[in-house]
C-alpha cells in the first residue's frame, strides 16, 4: 500500500515570492508521482508528473517538482507566484507495477497568494 503526506495544510505567501509545497510518500514498490491543482469549485487538473528519467519535472505554468528517491519526497516549487496560483494542490502516487494503478492522494495544501 502507498501513503502520501503533505506536510502543510495551508501555505500563505505574497505575490512574486517563491514557494515550496512539500510532499512525502511511502511505498513498498516503485511509484509514479503526480501533482494536481484544484481551483475553487472545480475538479482536479494534472499539473505535472514523474514517471522516469530526469528527476526534475516542469509544468507549463512555471511549477517544477523534484523526485528524491532517498528522501521519498516530491516537493513542488515555483520561483515567483501569482495571485492566480491560489488553489488547492494535491500530491498523488501510483504503483508503477502490480496492476493496481489507483492513485493515492494526500490531503492537500491550500496555497494562498496575497497581493
Amino acid at each position: 500500500a502507498q501513503s502520501v503526506t503533505q506536510l502543510d495544510s495551508q501555505v500563505p505567501v505574497f505575490e512574486e515570492a517563491p514557494v515550496e509545497l512539500r510532499c512525502n510518500y511511502s511505498s513498498s514498490v516503485s511509484v509514479y508521482l503526480f501533482w494536481y491543482v484544484q481551483y475553487p469549485n472545480q475538479g482536479l487538473q494534472l499539473l505535472l508528473k514523474y514517471l522516469s528519467g530526469s528527476t526534475l519535472v516542469e509544468s507549463i505554468n512555471g511549477f517544477e517538482a523534484e523526485f528524491n528517491k532517498s528522501q521519498t519526497s516530491f516537493h513542488l516549487r515555483k520561483p515567483s507566484v501569482h495571485i492566480s496560483d491560489t488553489a488547492e494542490y494535491f500530491c498523488a502516487v501510483t504503483p508503477a507495477s502490480g496492476g493496481s494503478y489507483i492513485p493515492t492522494f494526500g490531503r492537500g495544501t491550500s496555497l494562498i497568494v496575497h497581493p
Binding site: 494534472l46 508503477a96 493496481s100 489507483i102
Partner: protein
C-alpha cells in the same frame, strides 16, 4: 473536445434516500473511476470501471454501487444515504494500459445530505 462531464452539479437529498450521479468520460477514454472528496480532504477512491466491469474497489460499503455502459459512460449510485455521505463526488477518466497515463477529472457533483 469535451472533457469529463458530470451531472448534476449540485443536489440535496434526505437521509435514507438514494442518489444517482452520472459521468461521461473524455473522448477516447475507456476507464472511469469515482472518488469521494470530503471538505478539506483529498479524493478517496471508490471504484473503477473498465469494459463495463468493476475492476477495483476502495474501502467503501456496498451502499455504493456503479455501472459502466457500452459507450463508456458511468453512473454512481448511493443507497440509504447518511449525513456523512455529503461530499464532492468526482468522476475521472483515463486510457487503460499504463499507470502513468493522465487521469482527467470532471468538475464534480456536490451532494448534500440533510
Amino acid at each position: 473536445d469535451a472533457g469529463v462531464t458530470q451531472s448534476p452539479t449540485h443536489l440535496i437529498k434526505t437521509r435514507g434516500q438514494q442518489v444517482t450521479l452520472r459521468c461521461s468520460p473524455k473522448s477516447g477514454h475507456d476507464t472511469v473511476s469515482w472518488y469521494q472528496q470530503a471538505l478539506g480532504q483529498g479524493p478517496q477512491f471508490i471504484f473503477q470501471y473498465y469494459e463495463e466491469e468493476e475492476r477495483q474497489r476502495g474501502n467503501f460499503p456496498d451502499r455504493f454501487s456503479g455501472h459502466q455502459f457500452p459507450n463508456y459512460s458511468s453512473e454512481l449510485n448511493v443507497n440509504a444515504l447518511l449525513l456523512g455521505d455529503s461530499a464532492l463526488y468526482l468522476c475521472a477518466s483515463s486510457l487503460s494500459g499504463h499507470p502513468g497515463n493522465t487521469i482527467y477529472f470532471g468538475e464534480g457533483s456536490w451532494l448534500t445530505v440533510v
